[in-house]
């Protein structure tokens, strides 16, 4: 049975919590947490502190001499740079459209898979496979054998519909990259929604049927509200991963043509690897992190609700 975790709120009851825990006892409790906590703080927070520092420095790693103080000049560059704004905008477009379309498809596929039919297990396995393919492999296979204008399978299959040797990656670069993101993430959404569907109490559906409710009405009035936390969870987790999408951009279009598919990760990658501009990339990184924190504050609230941590101030 698939059930969203409800045990979370009852967690403290599992442990014995004496009223006046001694200092020693409190540390004994914390001890097992410390290695992981310290590890994560060191590895994930220090780079961001260093990023903050470098964002105020002039530093090109390919040039001799160290970093020099730059004041806010890196930030001025970031805010006046149309390249950064463009990358930011494309990141938002790519993430939002991929997550939303993958979720719509995911709900549809989950409804299909929730029915009994011959070979259901096999179809389920087929549908989850795209998620398991290495993203770099998926990107290269889509760019070559699938979408190539001269010998690609997609053009061949679309021939009856009047499509002739379309150069997908140069004509529709953004759509092509997003399509591959959707192809890889629809299985994820399908699995999460399917778990929600299977956790739906059969009695309510039975009752709706007896009351003469149509399939569509039942879905809208009963199933969708029940699925809501699952859909929120899928959107949340999908966004966390998809906002960092790099492999498809790097390997399908290399950010182009021009900057047509340059999203934030690819932009930062270019700044560091080809412009050698650590300071500039750091300032762009800091701005990215601040924007992320704003979005994440809402996301964490959503997390708390989905996981039913009532009253958790995230």
């Amino acid at each position: 049975m698939a059930v969203l975790e409800t045990g979370a709120a009852s967690a403290p009851q599992v442990g014995i919590q004496p009223r006046a825990a001694s200092r020693r006892d409190r540390w004994l409790r914390r001890l097992p947490l410390l290695p992981a906590l310290i590890y994560v703080i060191v590895v994930t927070q220090i780079p961001f502190l260093v990023t903050l520092w470098y964002s105020f420095q002039n530093y090109f790693w390919n040039q001799p001499g160290g970093a020099t103080f730059a004041g806010f000049s890196n930030y001025t560059t970031v805010f006046t740079s149309s390249a950064f704004r463009g990358a930011l905008l494309r990141s938002v477009i790519m993430t939002a459209s991929a997550v939303i379309i993958a979720m719509i498809l995911g709900v549809a596929f989950a409804v299909l898979l929730d029915r009994k039919f011959l070979g259901r297990g096999v179809v389920r396995t087929l549908i989850i496979t795209p998620f398991l393919v290495m993203p770099a492999a998926a990107a290269l296979v889509w760019a070559g054998p699938m979408l190539d204008p001269n010998f690609g399978l997609v053009n061949y299959l679309l021939q009856p519909f009047g499509v002739h040797h379309v150069a997908w990656l140069s004509t529709f670069p953004l759509i092509s990259v997003i399509a591959v993101m959707i192809w890889q993430w629809t299985p994820f959404m399908t699995l999460i929604v399917l778990a929600g569907l299977q956790g739906q109490p059969p009695e309510t559906l039975e009752a709706a049927k007896v009351d003469g409710a149509g399939a569509l009405a039942t879905f809208r009035e009963l199933t969708l509200p029940h699925l809501r936390p699952y859909i929120e969870l899928g959107i949340l987790l999908g966004s966390i991963y998809l906002v960092n999408v790099f492999d498809q951009v790097r390997l399908m279009t290399n950010g182009g043509p021009g900057t047509a598919t340059t999203n934030l990760p690819f932009y930062l990658y270019q700044q560091v690897n080809f412009a050698f501009d650590v300071g500039g990339a750091a300032a762009a990184g800091v701005v990215t992190v601040i924007l992320t924190i704003i979005v994440a504050t809402f996301a964490l609230r959503m997390f708390a609700r989905v996981f039913q941590f009532e009253g958790a101030d995230a």
Binding site: A8, V14, F48, Y54, I127, T129, F131, A136, A137
Partner: protein
Amino acid sequence: MTAPAATAAPVLGTTKPARRPRLRELSSQVGWGVLAWVVGLAFFLPVLWMVLTAFKPESAAETWPPQFTFTPTLAEFRLVFSGWGPFVTHSVVATVVSTVLVLLLGIPAAYALSVRPIKRWRDGLFFFISTKMLPIVAAIGPLYVIALKTHLLDSIWVLIILYTAMNLPLAVWMIRSFMLEVPGELLEAARLDGAGQIREISSVILPVISPGLVSTGLICVIFAWNELFLALNLTVTNAATLPMFLISSVPQEGLYIAHLSAAATVASIPVILVGWIAQRSLVRGLSMGAIK
């Protein structure tokens, strides 16, 4: 035999005319089944095409129209296996070592957030998840400089360290969800026996949650195995992983589609197989333990 369904509908006054429900139901079932199969096969098609192309001779891989019948050859696979040695070693080391580290750090942490929770276990949990939301890409420049100065650039350790940090939050959430399911009586009994924390974890909790640990490990393996961004930025040759091998299989000139497909197939197969086998735990892992 069809009495209940047949009588129910007219009595409730639906506008639909009475039909033979069994037959109608059966045909709609077959219809949905066919649709599901079509969707499933369409989604699988690119993977199938990748594998098929991998068995083609290079000359048959870039033709118009695409060839569906050909004499299969293992030539491209042989070529892949002759060149992938260092890459696969790096991938295996980075994946296995980081996953082991994640479990070693994650198990005690999950314990302190579930079985014997610290006072602010909620804050702890949300700290871990919040680090997943910080885009690592934002810090890539400084990470490069840090790696350079600590002589970790192009070393397998830089990947191990970062993959561990990348997967640890996910593992803590997931392992915690398994620990919450350990029956309270079991823990109670162990405590009455005077078991300390370490014995409580090793002899009571671990045996119960071992299937959960396996699925946690699998999720970590999937993410570490497939990772490209960090590997591409922080390694060159000494620690280059399989995704980078894939990139190197695309040459500047000449025919390469069959070779690329063979490399992509070989690189993807381990995770595909793992995922197929662990389908059920996949859902739980991907939802960080929210969905059982």
